[in-house]
Symmetry: C2
C-alpha cells in the first residue's frame, strides 16, 4: 500500500488545501528537516470537518456493530499492508528505532481489532431491561430498557510519544469509532507525515466499508488556535487528549467554558511512584537493573516511566541508587522526540536538581548524539521532598528521583503528600505486603493502577486495565484511555419506557439477536425475552 504525503488536510473523502502557512517535521536523530511540507489547517477547514462529522453521526450511529467492526478491521489491515511504507515515516519523524515502530504498529492494529470485536459483540452497551408488571399496585410497572448510545463527534489530539498507538488511528480513535462516534483528529505536529499516511488509510477503509463521508477527518497544524477551535466547535461532543498537564488543563477549561460543556478526557502524565520496601531492597541489584530499563524505556517518554522511588534511607538504598545510576548510564539512549522536548528535559531536570537538598547520583553520561540527553538519578530526603511541590513535577525523559525517608512514619507522609498518579508500584516481600498495609493503602488511594514486584511500563490492553487515575494524572479518574473500557468515554445511557420493539436499539429488543450479555430484571443473561 502506498499513499502520497501531500501535506493537505484529509476532510471526509477528499483532500483540502485551503491554507497558505506551511510547516515541516524534523528528524530528531539527525536534526535536519524532513522533505515534506504541510499546510496549516484553516478555521474554515476545521469547521467543515466538524460539520461533516455532525452529518456523518446521524448515519454512523445507526451502523450495526458488525459494520463498525469491519471498518476498524479494514483500517488495521491497511496499516499492516502498508507497514513497509509507514515504518520509515515513523522513524524519520520520531527518531525512535524501527523495532519500536513495528512494535507500536502491532499494538495499534491489536487495539483496532479488540475494539472491532467489542463493536461486533455489543455487550459493552450494558443493555439492561426491567420488564413490565401491569399488576403492580398502586401503579403498574412500565417496561423500561436502557443501553448506551454514542455521544457524537469526538475530537482526538495526536500524542507526541506514540505516533501510532495514541495518535491518528490510536486507542482514542478506535474506541470512539467502536462506540459509534465520528472522529476528527488534530494530528501532532512532530509527526505529520505519519499522521497523514495513517489518515489516508482510515479514509480508504471508510470508503471501502461503506461508512458515511465525514466519519473521519484529519487536520494538521502547529497552533493552539486550531485545537481550541475544534474543542469549542458546537458539533464536538467529547475530546480525547494525551500530553502535558498544561495542554490538558487548557483544553479541559475550553471544554467546560462552552455554552454546552463537553467532557475532555486528558491523560496528563504522571511520575508513577514506586515504594521500595526493605526486604525487596535487599535484592536491590535485580531491581536496580529492571528499573534502569523501565526509567529509560523509550528514552523515558512513556506515561508510565517511574520518576519517583521511595525507600528508607540507609546503606541498602544508597547501594540501590548507585547501581541504578550506573546501569542507566550503560543503557544506550536514543534521541528524544524533538528538539523542544530534549531542551525541556534538560531545563526540568536542572530545575529539580536545584531544589533544596536534591543531589545528582553519579556523573552525567555523555549524550551521544543530536537530541540525546543524559539519563539522571537524583536523591532527596523525605522532608525535603515533602517541602517542594516542584519535586512532584514530571520530568519527561529518563529521569528518576529517589526519596530516602528517615523512617516509616515519614515514608507514609511522603506517600500521603503525593498527587494523583496513573500507576503506583510496590516492591515488597510477602511479609512486607502485610506489614505495610497502611502505606500500600495510601499509595493505592492515589493511583489508577497499583502493581506489585514489577515495573509500571508495559500497559496491558485488556478488560481489567485501568489506565487513568486521580487528578492531575487525568481530568476524570472514572475513565480509562487503554483497554476495553476506554469505549465508555464516548457513550451515555438512554432509557426507553414502553417503547415499541421497532424503535428500540437492537440491543434492547425482546429477541437477543446480537447474542449479547444483558441484565434482565437484575440478572445477567444471554436469553431472549419470550412474551406469551
Amino acid at each position: 500500500m502506498q499513499y502520497p504525503i501531500s501535506g493537505g488536510q484529509i476532510i471526509g473523502f477528499s483532500e483540502s488545501r485551503s491554507g497558505s502557512q506551511t510547516f515541516q517535521s524534523t528528524n530528531p536523530a539527525t536534526g535536519s528537516l524532513n522533505e515534506w511540507h504541510f499546510l496549516e489547517a484553516t478555521p474554515q477547514e476545521a469547521d467543515r470537518a466538524m460539520q461533516m462529522a455532525r452529518q456523518a453521526f446521524r448515519v454512523y450511529r445507526q451502523k450495526p456493530g458488525p459494520a463498525r467492526a469491519a471498518f476498524l478491521r479494514r483500517i488495521a489491515e491497511l496499516l499492516e499492508e502498508g507497514a513497509e511504507a509507514l515504518v520509515p515515516l515513523y522513524v524519520a519523524e520520531s527518531g525512535l528505532p524501527e523495532g519500536r515502530a513495528r512494535g507500536e504498529l502491532g499494538r495499534t492494529t491489536g487495539q483496532l481489532r479488540k475494539f472491532a470485536d467489542q463493536a461486533e459483540d455489543g455487550s459493552w452497551m450494558a443493555a439492561t431491561i426491567d420488564t413490565a408488571d401491569l399488576a403492580r399496585q398502586p401503579i403498574p410497572k412500565p417496561d423500561l430498557r436502557k443501553c448506551l448510545a454514542p455521544l457524537g463527534p469526538v475530537v482526538v489530539f495526536g500524542a507526541s510519544n506514540f505516533p501510532l498507538a495514541f495518535s491518528t488511528a490510536g486507542g482514542d480513535t478506535a474506541s470512539a469509532f467502536a462506540a459509534g462516534c465520528p472522529v476528527v483528529v488534530k494530528g501532532h505536529p512532530l509527526h505529520p507525515a505519519t499522521g497523514e499516511w495513517v489518515a489516508r488509510a482510515i479514509q480508504q477503509a471508510a470508503e471501502q466499508t461503506g461508512m458515511p463521508e465525514g466519519v473521519f477527518s484529519h487536520l494538521q497544524g502547529t497552533t493552539h488556535s486550531l485545537g481550541a477551535s475544534l474543542v469549542q466547535h458546537p458539533a464536538t461532543a467529547a475530546v480525547g487528549f494525551t500530553g502535558s498537564r498544561a495542554g490538558g488543563l487548557a483544553l479541559a477549561a475550553l471544554g467546560q467554558g462552552r455554552q454546552v460543556p463537553i467532557p475532555v478526557f486528558a491523560e496528563m502524565g504522571s511520575i508513577n511512584p514506586v515504594l521500595l520496601l526493605p526486604e525487596a531492597l535487599s535484592a536491590g541489584d535485580k531491581w536496580a537493573a529492571a528499573y534502569a530499563q523501565s526509567v529509560t524505556l523509550g528514552t523515558g517518554q512513556f506515561c508510565t516511566n517511574p520518576g519517583l522511588l521511595i525507600g528508607l534511607e540507609g546503606e541498602a538504598l544508597e547501594g540501590f541508587r548507585e547501581t541504578l545510576a550506573r546501569e542507566m548510564n550503560q543503557i544506550p539512549q536514543a534521541c528524544m522526540l524533538g528538539e523542544g522536548i530534549a531542551a525541556r528535559y534538560i531545563r526540568m531536570q536542572e530545575t529539580l536538581l536545584q531544589e533544596n537538598g536534591v543531589r545528582r547520583i553519579g556523573a552525567p553520561a555523555a549524550a551521544p548524539g543530536v537530541n540525546c540527553v543524559p539519563p539522571t538519578v537524583a536523591a532527596v530526603s523525605g522532608s525535603d521532598f515533602k517541602a517542594s511541590p516542584t519535586l512532584q513535577e514530571e520530568v519527561f525523559g529518563p529521569f528518576t528521583l529517589v526519596v530516602g525517608c528517615r523512617d516509616e512514619g515519614e515514608m507514609l507522609q511522603v506517600l500521603e503528600s503525593l498527587e494523583g498518579q496513573l500507576t503506583g508500584t510496590v516492591l515488597a516481600s510477602e511479609a512486607e505486603c502485610g506489614q505495610y498495609r497502611v502505606h500500600i493503602a495510601a499509595l493505592e488511594s492515589r493511583v489508577g493502577r497499583i502493581l506489585f514486584n514489577g515495573v509500571p511500563t508495559g500497559v496491558e490492553v485488556g478488560p481489567a486495565m485501568h489506565h487513568g487515575g486521580p487528578f492531575p494524572a487525568t481530568t476524570d479518574s472514572r475513565f480509562t484511555s487503554v483497554g476495553a473500557d476506554a469505549i465508555y468515554r464516548w457513550a451515555r445511557p438512554v432509557s426507553y419506557q414502553n417503547a415499541p420493539q421497532e424503535l428500540l436499539p437492537e440491543a434492547l429488543r425482546d429477541a437477543n439477536l446480537l447474542g449479547i450479555w444483558r441484565t434482565i430484571d437484575g440478572v445477567p443473561t444471554r436469553e431472549s425475552i419470550h412474551n406469551e
Copy 2:
C-alpha cells in the same frame, strides 16, 4: 421513635451549636413561621464535618458490603418507625399533603433498601479479572484485576421539592453510603426540621450499626457561602445536587475551579417535551386528562412535569389545548413549596406569556389560598418558539406550553432546537412510530429517557432507569441520579497488577466469597478462580 428538633448541626455523633445566626421555616399552607429555630452552620463547623468525613472514609471504605447494607437498612427502619413523628414535620414545612409525605417516605425507604441490597451483593463493583499467561510471547501477561473503589467524602445538597427522597436520606446519600463514601448533607433551608429529624435517624443508625463517627454529618444554613465552602473543601471528593440551573451551574463551576477539580453531579430540571402525533391527538381527550394530571402533579414541582407539548397546528390541537386548560383548572391545587417559589412561578409564567406570539389558553383559575398559583396552559407557533430561547426555560410549577407547528418540517426544526432534557415523550399510534422515525430520533438524541404513550412523571427506581440527560438537564449525561446505577457517580476503577491475594479487595480474590458476578477473561461468571 422521637427525636428532638433542637436546631443545631449534626456532626458525627454529636450536636454542634457554634453559630449565632438563626432562621426558621415557614408553613407554606398557612404562611406562618414554624416553631423551631435553626442555627446557621459556621465555617468551622463545615470544616469539622468534612475533616471527620475524611477520617471516617479510611474506615468506612473498608467496611464490607453487608455492614454498609445493615447501616442503610437501619436508617430505613428508623424512618419507618418514626413515621408518625416525621410526617407532620414534612407537611408543616412543605405544604404537601400527608398522602404525598407517606408516599415519598415509602420511596425513600425503598431506595435505602435497594442500595442496601446493592452494597450487600457487590456486583455493582464491576469486578473484572484478566488472568495471567506466563507463557505469552514476547512478554508474559500479568495478572490484572479491576474493580470500583469509593471516591471519598460526598457533599449532598437537599432538594426543595423532595424533602425525603432527594434530601437528607435521599437517593444521593443512600447511593454514596452504598458505594463506601461518607456523606455531609447541606440541608435545604425550606425543610430544616424534616432534615434534622432524618439526620438524627441516620446518626443513630450509624452508631447502632458500628459505623465510624463522621460517616455522616448534617449542616443547616440559608447562605450560598456554606454550600460553596463544602464544595471547595479539600476533603470533598464529589457533590450531588438537585435544583435550579443557576444553582447547579454555580456549584459545578466551584467544583471545576478547585486546585483538584471534583465532579459535581447537578440535576438542573427540564421542560420534558412531549411530541403529540396526529393519530394520538385524535384520542385527544384521554391524553388531555392524563396530561392535566401530569402537568399539575405535586403542583408542577417535579423534575419531570411536562412543560412543553409539540403538535401540528389545527383543530385537533386546538381542542386538545382547550380541554387541557379546562381539566387543569378543575384539579384542586395545593400550595407551592414556599413563598419565593410561588413568586418565581408567577414571574416566570408572566415572562413567557409576554414573549412574542405566546397566548394564554382559557382564563386563569382563582388561586385558592396562601402560596397557591393558577395552573397555566399557553400556546405558541413553531416559528415563534424557535425564535425565543426564553420559551425553553423551565417554569417551575403547573405550567405548560403547547407549540403548534405548521407542518412536519417545522416540527422537526422545533425538536432540533431543543436543549438537553431529562425526558422526552412520544404520543403516537403504532403506524406513526414508523412514520415519524426522524422526529423521534431527534427527540431521543436530546433526552435521558424517552417514553411512549404515557406521562413523564413517575420515575421508576430500577436498574434500567436513566434519570439524567444531556446538558443543561444535568452536568453529566453519563450518570443517573435515580435507580441502581446512581451508585456509579461515587466510584472509580482501580487496577491491581500481580497483587497478593490478601491485598486485593474481596471482590477480586480468587475465591468468589461474595458470590458476585465478575467478568473473568471477558466472560461474566460467578465462579471462583481455581489455581492448580
